[in-house]
């Protein structure tokens, strides 16, 4: 289906109270927009709104100042109701220079608020952003509320007493701007003040000047004569269940899920990986948690990383490796070795735009086919995907459970959006998590490396160091009965069938598919997997509030599929599958269940907008109506 966009209800900023708001902070890579966004997020969480955030940064570490390709942005969607995406159109845009304005203004709603640093709109910067004339002076911003302030000048005055260099003083511009936006939404500055004091504890003048700038920005909002229609907006608190909350990115939730899985399985982990965007944060996080039964290894390349993980699994630990698309491609031969030798292995693929280097910092779901089929030989492997930043925690635990219980490599699909996006998380009570302790074989009597569990078909795990179990494994086909090398034709058939049956059997050990919103039958099912969850959820929710007969089916288990998925999908008149690829899952659904499913496909490096999916729902149901 063609991608169309549907305009959502505009939030008229002339109201004093708004249900939800999307704010985007945009500036140069060096402007500190990520820090600004993180602090605003913290204050918003403490205020009691539900929220979702998405940092959007360039591949260049320090692009030339003022360049459009160097714009770094941080988007937050917060409100009084459940928020599951980082938002479609912007209500408020903070643009620290012309490049940030030109690359983002198209997403600002009519009547939205744009805050700009007038001091940065120099002839040179305007030229870099390819502006023919200064947008602050021509009429191009007429449809918006504009707060056009010489922030540089304000900041220099605010931090004068700290004796910073001119350049050092201007570094506080982001905090001044943050102070102003905090005033705009009635946020408490204390959490930011605390975090600045902690961050710069050894440099009190830096902490002090940033806090002064923050307070000055806030005071500016309170005291300055602002243009009509710009005032404090109230966003009512969300109704959330009681408990202790924190913000968490998908990357951290995944890392902590691996730690939790290691505790629940009571097994040591070796996390072996090679740096690659956007997957490296997992390694950065886990290396700091070696106080758990975890060791990390930065290998010389992707192949060495998967191989070291397999070596660790052979030795009785659980090997985990992680990468993004191009790196996963390099690991394919190793993954097949783990499948052939029936050793546990978890492979985390944080998908990014492809092919090749593609869009390293942007998101996509285009590795599904590689995860399902991207190996030589008949090499089946369970594939599961996380749906939200928080979900990464549970899915990581599940990957470890499946890998160790079935002695198989498992592919866990995340993506660049999930890795970097953050949302508030009601912290689970770890004592309620179900343990699944792993045991290694120790009985020498009757041992052979081909012993397997008759239910799971998992091969025995006998680790070096155990007396009496000395044995050899390897990539050459092994006899089903003895584990010795076998070139016997019927044995290869039997082993191939067994490998398939083992993975297929996992379908009996996973939850049955349910609709996560709506009924399990009806006119239209919107079926998704992975990070499209949030946008589909909102779109289906809105469609249902219009009285449309539509349900949301979210599939976590991509191989094997839940055994009742086909049955559920047959209960709908039609099926729509939005994906950030050219139609990989829809193809699977169609061929597996012989149903008439239609894809909605987007490969722009950006997540779906709610409006895009809602428009597709309307189109689909409209077409059905006119056909009947």
């Amino acid at each position: 289906m063609e991608l169309a966009e549907e305009k959502l209800d505009e939030h008229h900023l002339d109201e004093k109270e708004v249900v939800d708001v999307v704010v985007r902070f945009a500036g140069d890579s060096g402007d500190g927009m990520q820090l600004t966004g993180t602090n605003f997020t913290q204050a918003t969480a403490l205020y009691g709104n539900d929220l979702s955030t998405f940092p959007d940064f360039p591949a260049e570490i320090r692009a030339p100042v003022g360049a459009t390709f160097g714009v770094s942005a941080f988007q937050i969607y917060f409100g009084a109701e459940d928020v599951t995406t980082a938002g479609d159109a912007l209500d408020v845009l903070v643009a620290m220079n012309p490049a940030a304005l030109v690359t983002n203004i198209a997403n600002l709603v009519e009547g939205g608020l744009v805050i700009v640093d007038r001091g940065a709109f120099t002839a040179k910067n305007l030229k870099k952003a390819k502006y023919q004339s200064n947008p602050l002076e021509d009429s191009s911003l007429d449809g918006f509320r504009v707060l056009d302030i010489d922030i540089s000048k304000q900041v220099l005055a605010a931090v004068e007493s700290f004796g910073l260099t001119h350049k050092g003083a201007l570094r506080c511009k982001n905090m001044w701007t943050l102070g102003l936006v905090m005033w705009l939404f009635d946020r408490d500055r204390q959490s930011t003040i605390d975090s600045l004091n902690a961050k710069f504890s050894s440099k009190p003048e830096i902490a002090g000047s940033n806090i002064a700038a923050l307070n000055a920005g806030h005071a500016y909002g309170e005291t300055a004569e602002l243009p009509a229609g710009i005032h404090v907006y109230k966003v009512p608190q969300a109704k959330v269940s009681p408990g202790t909350y924190r913000n968490v990115t998908g990357s951290n939730a995944l890392a902590w899920g691996l730690i939790a899985g290691s505790e629940l399985a009571d097994i040591d982990l070796l996390f072996a990986s090679y740096p690659i965007t956007p997957a490296s944060n997992l390694l950065h996080e886990l290396v700091n948690h070696r106080d758990f039964n975890i060791n990390t290894f930065q290998a010389e390349d992707e192949i060495a990383a998967v191989c070291a993980a397999i070596g660790a699994s052979f030795a009785g630990s659980l090997g985990i490796t992680s990468s993004a698309g191009p790196g996963i491609a390099l690991k394919a031969e190793g993954i097949a070795l783990a499948a052939a030798t029936e050793l546990p292995l978890v492979v985390v693929d944080t998908q990014r735009g492809g092919p090749s280097t593609g869009l390293p910092t942007k998101t996509e779901q285009s590795d599904l086919n590689m995860a399902l089929y991207g190996r030589h030989g008949d090499t089946p492997m369970p594939v599961i995907a996380s749906s939200t930043p928080i979900d990464c925690f549970e899915v990581a635990i599940e990957a470890i459970r499946l890998a160790t219980k079935y002695m198989t490599p498992v592919m866990l699909l995340s993506d660049g959006y999930l890795a970097n996006a953050a949302e508030p998380w009601k912290i689970p009570d770890v004592s309620t998590l179900e343990p699944f302790p792993v045991s290694h074989h120790s009985e020498a009597e009757g041992f052979k490396p081909s012993l397997r569990d008759k239910d799971t078909l998992a091969r025995v795990w006998a680790k070096p160091g155990t007396a009496g179990l000395e044995h050899r494994i390897g990539g050459i086909e092994k006899s089903y009965d003895t584990g010795d090398i076998s070139y016997d034709p019927s044995n290869h058939q039997k082993m191939t069938d067994m490998r398939h049956a083992k993975v297929a059997g996992i379908a009996n050990d996973i939850p049955l598919q349910k609709a996560c919103l709506g009924e399990e039958s009806g006119e239209l099912a919107v079926v998704g997997w992975g990070s499209t969850f949030g946008a589909i959820h909102q779109a289906v929710k809105r469609a249902r509030s219009e009285g449309l007969d539509v349900s949301h089916i979210h599939v976590r288990y991509l191989s094997p599929l839940p055994r009742n998925l086909g049955e559920i999908l047959h209960n709908f008149e039609t099926v729509l599958v939005p994906e950030m690829n050219t139609g990989q899952f829809v193809h699977l659904v169609k061929s597996e269940f012989l149903i008439d499913a239609e894809g909605l496909n987007k490969v722009a490096g950006q997540p779906f907008k709610i409006g895009e999916i809602l428009a597709a729902i309307h189109k689909k149901l409209g077409a059905m109506e006119s056909a009947s």
């Binding site: 913290q42 192949i303 060495a304 990383a305 660790a312 050899r472 494994i473």
Partner: protein
């Protein structure tokens, strides 16, 4: 600790698998020497692990009655590193060949050596790809005629010991498949070394590269073509022990001299001298002998020890999952 282990013999180390190398392959001799040597280390058999890649030599683990892992082409050093990281108590051996170790697996070889992972690497160098039916390898002499180089190969060969030295190796040695006594002595020293021990074993392939090392193996003439290095001893060779290696201090190059009348110029082997070791490892040219023995050795902490030191420190206070999830900013909703 030193619990008396039952004395094992060669038979304890032979697996029940039929050995399937070609008749006359040098690998048989190496296997026998290693099987015979293993009991000498007086270690629990269950702690010994043989890991290989792909190729003729890489079938080796199937014939050792220890733990063994026949992995994928070139990756044995990476797999072995994972094994050691998971269980540093294991005595890990990497078995590889010239194609496996220095062509497809060259990168892993460099890194396992530079990291000084505590294990033994036995590289069987027959200067040919055997299992794929005789193509030239990265150690084949230029001009080698093979199915993939019918007019002679144009590649320059690399010196395994030279590359291992360049990668920062801390134990570099060379021996010969059929020289059981010398090989056993070299491998024993490799095993005693704390770190990555690299042993190149010149190995005859009777099918695709027969006789390539005949000069250094034929007892009648070998003394003219190989020099046996011993730490602290003069570097002398020849059927009559009449030739020696000397360092020309003007040109900073090695040269072959007559022993007689030049006694004061003869090089004395210092296995801790990396510059001389590199020169001895890579001697080439018709009048130079092939150096065998321990070429270089240095004391350096191993990667596994250093990694575990960090782990021990990190685990002084055991992590708590509940605390980890509550770290940083949290807030209560009532």
């Amino acid at each position: 600790m030193n619990q008396a282990l039952p004395k094992l013999t060669l038979k304890d180390y032979a697996s029940d698998q039929e050995v399937r190398w070609c008749p006359g392959c040098g690998d048989y001799a190496i296997l026998k020497t290693i099987q015979k040597l293993m009991p000498e280390f007086n270690q629990p058999k269950e702690n010994q692990v043989f890991i290989s890649g792909i190729g003729c030599s890489s079938r080796f683990p199937y014939y050792m009655n220890t733990y063994g892992f026949h992995t994928i082409h070139g990756r044995a050093p990476a797999i072995a590193t994972g094994v050691k990281l998971a269980n540093p108590e294991l005595d890990v051996w990497v078995i590889t060949g010239d194609g496996d170790g220095f062509s497809i697996g060259g990168n892993h070889m460099l890194h396992v050596i530079r990291r000084n992972v505590n294990l033994q690497i036995l590289l069987f160098n027959n200067e040919i790809y055997g299992l794929t039916k005789g193509q030239y390898s990265p150690t084949s002499q230029t001009g080698t005629t093979t199915p993939s180089s019918p007019q002679g190969s144009v590649d320059s060969p690399l010196s395994p010991c030279g590359v291992a030295l360049g990668a920062g190796g801390t134990f570099i040695a060379r021996s010969i498949d059929t020289e059981a006594k010398h090989l056993a002595a070299v491998v024993t020293r490799a095993h005693d070394h704390d770190g990555a021990s690299f042993v190149e074993i010149l190995q005859n392939c009777p099918i695709y590269n027969d006789g390539i090392f005949e000069q250094v193996k034929d007892k009648k003439i070998a003394a003219n073509f190989k020099v046996v290095l011993t730490h602290g001893e003069p570097v002398i060779f020849g059927l009559e022990q009449e030739k020696a290696i000397s360092l020309n201090r003007e040109s900073l190059q090695l040269e072959v001299i007559e022993v007689s009348g030049n006694e004061d110029k003869i090089l004395v082997h210092d296995e801790n001298n990396k510059i001389l070791a590199t020169m001895l490892a890579t001697m080439s040219g018709s009048n130079f002998p092939v150096a065998v023995g321990v070429i270089y050795r240095e004391d350096k902490t191993s990667f596994i020890d250093d990694s575990y030191q960090q782990l021990i420190k990190a685990r002084e206070v055991k992590g708590s999952l509940q605390e980890l999830l509550h770290s940083g900013h949290t807030w209560e909703v009532e």
